[in-house]
């Protein structure tokens, strides 16, 4: 009875305090209190100092599942904003200079130059294909501008045998693995050489040879799939991981939650690589979540995690390399949140000027560009100069144009292939429907694009 009275008394005191805090004068006080708390608590409040009546009370107890948890008599609700923010791992600054105290990852000249070449190639490719869409030559496109490092430098830290599941803004990963400009162009033009046989929208790439699972439009569906794939790798005792890419918006899908939880409980060697670029189409992150980004969710799932400057090529490379090592060594998932900025439109069907300020975009372009940062770093090392950079751009421009023109000239896949691959073997009803369609098109050859056959 006495304890109950104490409890009520202490709750009444808290309520009085809450009331007091609602007055404007008290607000300053309370925010001061919060900031003090911020410094005091590292994570959660420590158990309250025991009162005289409970001096013999245990400091912890066992709960369901045999979990031993600390006890506290302090009625303290933890607010997310009182938790420390996750720091961003950075190796080079926005001018490409080594951050004091940072350790440079082991990166051979050859690898560094391949990285920068790939980033230039991706940027040039985006520029040309974006304009090709504007001219109506392809139906759709999505650029990676500003996010080249998140793709290329994480891919550089993986092994070629590692399996990749992507969202759609990861062509740099494929490019790093050797997907040719012709491969890209053929997919964009849905021609007969498209590995996907012309069935999906542009930028939905995939290649079994390069262990890059084919992209699909539904967001986040690939995340639990990546976990299942990683489980398969673990079972086969292959020293490989799965790398799964997604954006900050996709992380709001239920499949993200399912995947994190499955990966942790089933102990899968998978890297979850989140590209946090600030926007999901027009939705800024403050409408997407209220926690400390995506990385702060990892501990809730019992998962290892790191937040990285996504525009810092070296940081992305080093973090991915270390995460991969950890995932393999301990058969556990690691979440990487790569902080970046989507400089381009969401897609060719979007106009960013309707929901964000030009200054904001310009600022990122001019002050925090992943390619410029890496180039500056290589400059300082004497590995690259402005002439080399220009030569790279010129070479890539010619190569992209050549691939585009070649892709445009190739015809579409054969018409009957529309019915193939629904199942491994074509069932009777599809055989019938195919015959029906071909007969119909043969009857009206002038009314259909492939009426004259291919």
């Amino acid at each position: 009875m006495r304890r109950r009275c104490l409890f009520l008394a202490s709750r009444a005191a808290k309520e009085r305090l809450l009331l007091a805090r609602t007055s404007p004068a008290a607000k300053a006080l309370s925010s001061a209190a919060v900031s003090t708390e911020h410094q005091t608590y590292d994570t959660l409040p420590p158990p309250a100092p025991s009162e005289s009546t409970s001096s013999q009370a245990p400091s912890s107890a066992t709960f369901a599942g045999g979990v031993e948890l600390p006890l506290t008599s302090s009625l303290h609700i933890v607010k997310a904003e009182s938790q420390p923010r996750w720091p961003v791992y950075r190796v080079i600054d926005t001018d490409g200079a080594l951050v004091p105290g940072a350790m440079e990852p082991e990166l051979s000249t050859e690898l560094a130059m391949h990285m920068v070449t790939c980033m230039v190639r991706l940027r040039v490719m985006d520029h040309i294909f974006y304009n090709a869409q504007r001219q109506g030559r392809i139906s759709f496109y999505m650029t990676s501008t500003g996010e080249e490092a998140t793709q290329i430098c994480s891919a550089a830290a993986l092994s070629g045998g590692d399996t990749v599941f992507g969202q759609y803004r990861e062509p740099g990963v494929l490019m790093w693995r050797g997907f040719s400009l012709q491969n890209f162009a053929d997919q964009l033009f849905s021609n007969t050489d498209d590995l996907g046989r012309g069935r999906q929208m542009p930028v939905h790439y995939g290649s079994s040879k390069l262990n890059f699972q084919t992209i699909s439009s539904p967001l986040a569906t690939q995340i639990p799939q990546a976990v299942g794939a990683a489980y398969a790798l673990k079972q086969q005792k292959l020293a490989q991981v799965v790398a799964c890419y997604f954006g900050d918006g996709a992380a709001s899908e239920g499949d993200f939650h399912a995947a994190m939880n499955f990966a942790a409980t089933l102990e899968c060697p998978v890297l979850f690589i989140c590209r946090n670029n600030g926007y999901a189409i027009s939705t800024p992150v403050e409408d997407q979540y209220r926690g400390d980004g995506i990385v702060s969710r990892a501990p809730g799932y019992g998962m290892a995690a790191i937040r990285v400057d996504g525009n810092d090529a070296l940081a992305v490379f080093a973090a991915t390399q270390e995460a991969r090592r950890l995932a393999l060594a301990e058969n556990r998932p690691v979440l990487l949140e790569l902080m970046t900025y989507r400089v381009g439109h969401h897609s060719t069907s979007d106009d960013w000027s309707r929901y964000r300020m030009t200054e904001e975009v310009k600022d990122w372009q001019s002050h925090n560009d992943p390619l410029r940062r890496l180039l500056a770093y290589l400059h300082a090392k004497g590995l690259c100069d402005a002439d080399m950079e220009q030569a790279m751009r010129d070479t890539e421009r010619l190569a992209v144009m050549a691939a585009l023109e070649a892709a445009e000239k190739k015809g579409p896949p054969p018409l009957q292939s529309m019915f193939e691959d629904v199942y491994r073997d074509m069932p009777q009803h599809l055989l019938e429907q195919r015959a029906e369609m071909l007969a119909h098109v043969a009857k009206y050859p002038d009314k259909y694009p492939q009426g004259r056959g291919h």
Binding site: T163, F165, D194, L195, G196, R197, R199, Q200, H204, G206, S207, S208, Q213, T214, S216, P218, T221, I223, P224, Q225, A226, V227, G228, A229, A230, Y231, A232, L233, Q235, V242, G254, D255, H257, A258, A259, N261, F262, T265, L266, E420, D421, V422, Y423, R424, D425, P427, Q428, H429, L430
Partner: protein, 362 residues
């Protein structure tokens, strides 16, 4: 009775010995072989036996879902974890979309994934993974990748007191999805053969198990490794006056309806089990309808856009000149599955009998 989940025992009177004999003899299996191989069902279940064979014959095969490690809420995976290890038979967190996504990824790496949804009623959170992902995986990648090693098992159908969320038959939702195969066995022996065929099929399969059969179907099931082919319907009994088509547990109801029609009115029914709902065996049904001139299709699921609608529409196109009566559908009503009115809701033998009589007397 064997080790049963007591709350899911249905009226065993619907499981009459003479009917079982008919269904068994129609199964088309070699009986001398059966005699040497059979073990009485329900030691565990036919499903358990099929999964055991799959795990024995395929080192990549895994069994997972909610509560499968201890044997499953319907005891379908009893003993498998002990026999094959916790890395191959394991619990997942409680998330159907996670189970389906995980299974697709495992299959996409070439593995055989046998995933369980605890009830077909709870498969809907996985709908996106199954319809947008599993079904289209091969097609959209130009056959660069596939998830053909995937089988999703889900207990379905009426059980006597399952209410809204322990009674549904969702086959028609999936039958509308190119790329999936949808299978529903009528009894234990069929269940084992069809499940093994589904697990080994190169395409993703939704395998719906009428849960009413888990405990009532007491015929012998071969112990060994056998398959019942997918996409092939089976004529369970030949008849001259009317073709009666169904799948899953409804076959027992249909057989009873046919018995009534013969006993009371001398009507000769040709009874067909579709077995595979997608892709379905239209040719076998059409051949029957050309002979009988009448068709009754029946399922537990609601009538509107139920799979009977597809069968009826397709058969009237194929057999228009042979039809002597409108195609009849005997289905669940277009309501959620009710609790207290289940016996009124069910497309039972009497309703089937009435439809048969009406078709013949049209």
């Amino acid at each position: 009775m064997p080790d049963c989940h007591e709350s899911y025992i249905v009226n065993s009177q619907s499981c009459r010995p003479d009917l079982l004999t008919i269904l068994n003899s129609a199964a088309g299996l070699n009986h001398s072989l059966l005699l040497s191989l059979t073990a009485n069902l329900c030691r565990f279940t036919a499903i358990n036996s099929a999964m055991r064979v799959a795990l024995q014959t395929d080192p990549t095969a895994t069994v997972f879902g909610e509560d499968v490690a201890f044997g499953g809420v319907f005891r379908c995976s009893v003993g498998l974890k002990e026999e094959f290890g916790a890395s191959r038979v394991f619990n997942t967190p409680l998330s159907e979309q996670g189970i389906a996504g995980f299974a697709i990824g495992y299959a996409a790496m070439g593995g055989t994934a046998i995933a369980e949804m605890q009830f077909a009623d709870y498969i809907f959170p996985a709908m996106d993974q199954l319809v947008n992902e599993a079904a289209k995986y091969r097609y959209r990648s130009g056959n660069e990748f596939n998830c053909g090693g995937l089988t999703i098992r889900a207990p379905c159908g009426a059980v006597g007191h399952g209410g809204h969320y322990h009674s549904q038959s969702p086959e028609a939702y999936f039958a509308h999805t190119p790329g999936l195969k949808v299978v529903m066995p009528r009894d234990a022996r069929e269940a084992k053969g069809l499940l093994l065929a589904s697990i080994r099929d190169p395409d993703p399969v939704i395998f719906l198990e009428p849960k009413a059969l888990y405990r009532t179907s007491v015929e012998d099931v071969p112990d060994g490794d056998y398959e019942v082919p997918l996409g092939v319907a089976q004529v369970l009994r030949a008849g001259a006056d009317v073709t009666v088509v169904g799948w899953g547990a409804q076959l027992r109801v249909l057989a009873e309806g046919c018995d009534m029609a013969r006993a009371r009115d001398g009507i000769s029914c040709e009874l067909i089990d579709l077995r595979t709902v997608l892709p379905w065996d239209a040719a076998t049904v059409a051949a029957s309808v050309r002979k009988t001139g009448r068709l009754v299709v029946s399922h537990e699921a609601p009538r509107t856009c139920g799979f009977a609608a597809e069968v009826a529409a397709d058969l009237q196109e194929r057999c228009f000149l042979h039809l002597q009566a409108p195609v009849a559908r005997v289905c669940g009503y277009d309501t959620p599955f009710p609790l207290v009115f289940e016996r009124h809701y069910a497309p039972d033998a009497l309703k089937v009998y009435e439809a048969i009589k009406k078709a013949v007397n049209y």
